[in-house]
């Protein structure tokens, strides 16, 4: 199977090289593995650094948000004939060493979408993250009827069926909730695996803030009614 590891990145020159380098080269069940960095209109040297470290880089001329970058990654994966797509954050909070676990779930357990959950493993997370996540999980259940422990995780794997069927619309952070809408709509099989998240001052500054919550809720509502 062909695997594409996609890293949406916006002004990540400090971490991007490290993230690319720590993605495993050989994974059981994978014949070909490529790394795609979607540079979402960075104004720093993210593009050059990603290219220098051997990633395929697709560049948005202006910043469009996480959703826009993930949509580009999905289109790229479909166009180039990859069967599995993994998305991983560019700020270094996800451990690329967990990628084989995602692949195992997709290939061996035939799961269409696998989400890395930060809450299945004991660990400490900032309180605001816990609140934002609990609220988002509740809304995901309310809107799409899927019980998840981590609706906002950016560490995900899409198998062949999911890659073929999932069609995202959102441009911003609300894309994370939208993935669950697509799982429900297309009746895709879903699994979670525990992941460890490395919260550094850098990654905390980059992630979702509690102030984003009203915007995400409003945008999900507008999408429902428009």
């Amino acid at each position: 199977m062909k695997l594409l590891v996609a890293i949406p990145a916006f002004n990540e020159e400090k971490m991007i090289a490290q993230v690319i380098k720590s993605i495993p080269g050989k994974i059981a069940g994978i014949k070909k593995r490529d790394i795609l960095v979607v540079d979402d209109g960075s104004t720093d040297r993210t593009f050059e650094k990603a290219q220098k470290h051997g990633a395929i880089v697709v560049r948005h001329i202006i910043n469009r948000g996480l959703g826009g970058a993930i949509k580009t990654a999905m289109d790229f994966a479909r166009r180039e004939g990859y069967q599995i797509l993994i998305t991983i954050d560019a700020d270094g909070q996800h451990e690329p060493g967990s990628i084989p676990l995602f692949i195992k779930k997709v290939i061996d357990s035939h799961k269409d979408v696998v989400v890395g959950s930060r809450w299945l493993k004991a660990g400490s997370a900032p309180r605001t993250r816990i609140i934002v996540n609990k609220l988002a999980n509740l809304l995901t259940y309310f809107f799409y009827g899927i019980n998840t422990s981590d609706s906002q995780s950016g560490y995900r794997a899409f198998g062949p069926k999911a890659l073929d069927r999932v069609r995202l619309q959102a441009d911003g952070m609300e894309v994370s909730s939208e993935v669950f809408r697509e799982i429900a709509k297309n009746r895709l099989s879903y699994a979670e695996i525990p992941i460890r998240v490395i919260y550094t001052e850098y990654s905390k500054a980059k992630g979702q803030r509690i102030t984003n919550a009203p915007k995400i809720i409003l945008q999900l509502l507008v999408r429902l009614f428009k």
Partner: protein, 117 residues
């Protein structure tokens, strides 16, 4: 007719003339033109004949004509803000689609160039 009424009518007529101009220059669809013309024309009529507003208010079960105008205006404004929000969302999404297409096309082109070399 009071001075306030006259000033309000002059302003509303100005707004009505803008609607016509926008339609003529092709910036407004026929449906939008009809909607906005009706809205401003109704406002001119109710400003000129406030008693008519009271009749509408009685029909709707609201005490005073002015109250009815305010209630209806707020409802219309809320709806228009919602439409505007949806419109802006659509424009944002169209820009994103364009940016994404440019990025993917440019990558394809560069890929072809590399494989030729």
């Amino acid at each position: 007719m009071s001075l306030t009424q006259i000033l309000l009518i002059v302003f509303l007529l100005f707004a009505l003339s803008r609607v016509t101009l926008q339609y003529k220059s092709g910036n407004l669809s026929l449906l939008s033109f009809l909607f906005w013309s009706f809205l401003f024309a109704a406002a001119v009529y109710l400003t000129a004949f406030p008693d008519q507003a009271s009749r509408i208010a009685q029909l709707l079960g609201i005490g005073r004509g002015v109250d009815a105008v305010i209630y209806i205006s707020i409802a219309v404004l809320f709806y228009l803000v919602f439409r505007l929000y949806v419109y802006l969302e659509n424009v944002r999404q169209e820009i994103t689609d364009l940016v994404r297409k440019l990025a993917l096309d440019s990558n394809k082109k560069n890929g072809r160039k590399k494989s030729k070399n």
